[in-house]
């Protein structure tokens, strides 16, 4: 057995997992695991702190990449062949409709989870120093998620696809100065056609996913470099409990120097002095005790979250079919022509004014989101200390949800206001 063990040892160069050293080495000698710290604070496992939304979003992205690559084996970005390929996936290809369902429902799930994750980070104040820039990266990841959804639903080349892209690219055309140019670049022509399909395909399967992967890597790396997950808000002590003494700061005159008697059996040496503020939230000695090894505690919980995500998506995909409308028909706009639910808030805005609702308001909303960590300089993360920030963000969330509900349930043919309990005959 020695040769086999030698092979194993050549691959896995760490001590046995029964030892603390082995548990640490499992994490930091492994390319895939070393994004974790070797030890994690126990309080960060608390479900009601993070709801594991970042993990779930990442797992949904993994499902999307896997099922997406599978779908690519049977899909040609060529109108109207694309639509025939979708029909093949639905009725002919083994597991085709199941994989397509998984892809579609994970995409919807990802939009929801990214948004909820953003809410979680806001309400726990986790965008505050030193994590401001990671919030900015997060906003870009949110926009990329929407971009991937948008480019994705053109690909089936059905009626929804065709008219959603027609409306979407025309909204882009309203952008000041660059609008018409932007529209032409996006479509590779002057109307939605074969070149637009090819462009959206390349964006969907190559450009946007690779950007997404790069930014996700930066996002995760920054989480570690900014001091790990933020502490749960209920662990935070009220501010101004006592004067904060910082390294390098002049000590208050009345503060007596604490002198610790030197131990007789230890050698002391000054290792290094780092000036400036510590970027990490201060951890006291008793809290330091409350950490556990990532293996197995963190990995176990991540595995549970992964399995729960995959099983849920599979279960949903068994029972609900991803929609596919009729073949794209440039001559006939469906009535009402609705985008997928997550864009119906935008469509509701656009139905009042294309320039204001489609360009100005969304651009201001994105700029506002990006600016949050720089505008909100209140250092406290405790909800009691930041009532106005919480009210403002809640208003933003409520407006979004209400617009989506109006667009989804209260708009009928010709975008007329129709309550969901009224049936309009003749609507398609």
């Amino acid at each position: 057995m020695t040769p086999l063990r030698d092979v194993w040892r050549s691959i896995v160069r760490r001590d046995p997992l029964s030892t603390d050293k082995g548990k640490s080495e499992l994490v930091f000698l492994n390319l895939w695991l070393h994004i974790h710290p070797a030890k994690v604070k126990r309080e960060n496992f608390k479900l009601k702190h993070t709801w594991y939304l970042g993990f779930i979003t990442f797992y949904l992205f993994l499902i999307l990449v896997t099922t997406g690559v599978a779908l690519m084996f049977y899909y040609r970005p060529d109108a109207p062949q694309s639509y025939q390929d979708m029909k093949d996936l639905q009725f002919v290809v083994y597991l085709g409709s199941f994989l397509r369902n998984m892809h579609r429902w994970s995409a919807h799930g990802m939009v929801i989870c990214v948004f909820l994750h953003m809410c979680r980070v806001f309400y726990t104040g986790s965008y505050k120093a030193p994590r401001q820039f990671n919030w900015v990266i997060g906003v870009f990841l949110f926009l990329l998620t929407l971009g991937l959804s948008f480019t994705g639903y053109l690909l089936p080349w059905d009626q929804l696809a065709f008219w959603a892209i027609t409306v979407g690219s025309n909204i882009g055309g309203y952008a000041p100065l660059v609008g018409p140019r932007l529209k032409e670049l996006l479509l590779g022509g002057h109307a939605v056609g074969e070149s637009a399909l090819l462009r959206f395909y390349v964006l969907h399967v190559a450009v946007l996913p690779s950007t997404m992967i790069l930014l996700t890597m930066v996002h995760f790396w920054r989480v570690r470099k900014d001091g790990g997950l933020s502490r749960p808000v209920w662990k935070l002590k009220p501010a101004a409990a006592g004067p904060l003494v910082r390294i390098g700061a002049p000590a208050p005159a009345e503060a007596a120097l604490v002198v610790v008697p030197a131990s007789q059996d230890k050698t002391y040496g000054l290792m290094e002095v780092v000036t400036g503020k510590p970027i990490f939230e201060t951890v006291t000695a008793e809290e330091e005790e409350d950490t556990v090894f990532s293996y197995p505690y963190a990995f176990f919980r991540e595995a549970i979250a992964l399995m729960a995500t995959v099983t849920s998506v599979m279960a949903i995909s068994l029972f609900w079919q991803a929609p596919l409308e009729e073949l794209a028909n440039p001559a006939k706009t469906p009535n009402p022509a609705k985008a997928p639910w997550y864009f119906l808030g935008l469509q509701e805005l656009v139905s009042h004014s294309a320039l204001l609702g489609g360009v100005v308001v969304p651009a201001l909303a994105v700029l506002g989101l990006l600016a949050i960590p720089y505008l909100d300089t209140n250092p406290s993360r405790r909800p009691a200390d930041r009532k106005w920030a919480i009210r403002a963000f809640t208003l933003f969330v409520v407006v979004n949800v209400v617009l989506i509900i109006i667009g989804t349930l209260f708009r009928g043919p010709g975008w007329a206001l129709v309550p969901p309990w009224v049936h309009v005959s003749g609507a398609e």
Partner: protein
């Protein structure tokens, strides 16, 4: 190397580098702009005048136009593309207006916006008689709503 010449060459190098970046970005944008558009021509024949009936307009799906023919006034061609976000409008004979299904814009019979988010009236295209006697529509020539071709 002297400090002065080092600074000079360094500045020149930086300028060259940034120019190269700028030129490359321009090249990328130009590359993504097709040199040839394989799209249907903007000017096309739609058939003989006799093919079109009086009364309700004829909708040509491929071209996205409405062809109006009136006994007294003659021919007129309206665009079926909503000026808001490009959905295809429908002409309703009962109220003689154009309705857009996407966001509820309503255009009067002459194309003027009556309701909804559309920023401009529907376009009317020049229609002429080609040499072979067919009607020719030119989408590059937008004409006033009052434009008519008598045949």
């Amino acid at each position: 190397m002297k400090r002065r010449s080092w600074l000079g060459w360094g500045t020149a190098g930086l300028v060259a580098l940034w120019s190269a970046v700028g030129v490359s970005l321009g090249a990328v944008v130009r590359f993504l702009t097709p040199s040839v558009f394989y799209e249907p021509p903007q000017s096309f024949k739609i058939g003989n005048p006799a093919d079109f009936s009086f009364g309700p307009p004829t909708f040509l799906a491929e071209e996205k136009i409405f062809v109006f023919r009136d006994r007294e006034k003659g021919f007129a061609v309206a665009s079926a593309v909503c000026t808001h976000l490009g959905c295809t409008v429908g002409y309703f004979q009962d109220d003689q207006r154009f309705h857009c299904p996407c966001h509820g814009s309503v255009f009067a019979g002459d194309g003027a916006v009556q309701h909804g988010p559309a920023p401009r009236p529907l376009e009317w295209f020049e229609v002429t008689l080609a040499r072979d006697g067919q009607l020719r529509v030119d989408k590059d020539h937008v004409v006033p709503a009052a434009y008519r071709l008598m045949v």
